[in-house]
């Protein structure tokens, strides 16, 4: 990630890895609910990874107490489920 800010090759690797994760997640979403089309599942996967990537950065802060981290993880789980449920509601 650090290199990707300066180095086009590293940026390509970063994008490739992100696309791989998005693709895996979107396939899983389509397995969960086959009414998701490919594009919709890709968008949803990307939304989920936006939150997870951002959260990963913030949870690096070891100054946070374990209870605090647990509380944030719980909130994140609620938000992730909410995003998926909202997407399912839209196609129903």
């Amino acid at each position: 990630m650090a290199l990707a800010q300066h180095d086009e090759d590293a940026a390509k690797v970063l994008r490739k890895e992100q696309q791989h994760l998005h693709s895996q997640t979107s396939q899983t979403l389509m397995l969960i609910d086959d009414r998701f089309n490919h594009q919709h599942a890709e968008h949803l996967a990307r939304c989920l990874w936006v939150l997870i990537d951002g959260l990963t950065l913030q949870l690096l802060d070891t100054q946070d107490l374990p209870d605090e981290v647990k509380a944030i993880e719980y909130e994140a789980r609620v938000v992730l489920l909410d995003i998926i449920n909202r997407a399912i509601e839209k196609i129903e």
Partner: protein, 213 residues
């Protein structure tokens, strides 16, 4: 005091103000230059000697404003977080209802990651993974952004507790930070706008559900 004395004292005050202004301008010039170097060459590119030479001051003069490289880097990011807070407060004040104020919080944060300064945050995020000082700066700035956002949330919705507003602020910034990392890929701008909409909906939902707890 006689008139001549008054006039001398006034002149002294004016001189002092002018010196402070010059000092303030010079300080900003140094930060501007260091920001440019940071964006061009990363953290290793911010070398005090190069900054001094580029601004046209002696190294000793630069040390007067910023004794160490860390102080200068800190000033770069503090200026960004201060600008964010000012923009956020101004933006919120333009709206009267809760939804407008909440949208102002989202839009101000999105402006941060869409502007040229976004690369500063991405660099800091990346550098913080393997440098202790950068990690400390990263967490310090993160806390500032979370606190400013949580405070704004409590002003908008006073029923939120301090802890809850901090959690919402932290999750909100997790989404914004995650999006900032993904926006390096300019080919996916259509998806970015969809993610933005999702962030707005999610943020609204978090605040409304928090009100009901």
């Amino acid at each position: 005091m006689n008139k001549a004395g008054d006039s001398k004292s006034d002149q002294g005050t004016l001189d002092k103000i002018a010196r402070q202004d010059r000092g303030q301008r010079r300080r900003q010039e140094i930060i501007d230059c260091a920001t440019r170097l940071l964006l061009e060459s990363g953290f290793d590119g911010v070398v005090l000697r190069d900054v001094a030479s580029s601004v046209g001051v002696q190294l000793s003069s630069l040390h007067y404003y910023f004794p160490t490289r860390s102080d200068l880097v800190l000033a770069i990011f503090d200026r960004e977080s201060t600008a964010y807070e000012e923009e956020l407060l101004a933006s919120i004040s333009h709206h009267k209802n809760i939804d407008g104020k909440v949208a102002a919080i989202v839009d101000t944060a999105l402006n941060v990651i869409k502007g040229p300064e976004a690369k500063l945050w991405r660099l800091l995020t990346a550098y913080a993974q393997h440098n202790h000082n950068a990690a400390e700066l990263f967490f310090r700035e993160n806390k500032l952004f979370h606190t400013v956002t949580a405070r704004a949330l409590r002003n908008i919705e006073p029923t939120l507790t301090g802890k809850r507003s901090m959690h919402i602020a932290q999750l909100f910034w997790a989404m914004i930070d995650g999006l900032a990392l993904q926006t390096t890929d300019a080919k996916n701008l259509d998806t970015v706008s969809l993610v933005e909409t999702e962030i707005k909906t999610t943020f609204n939902a978090m605040i409304h559900s928090a009100k009901n707890i």
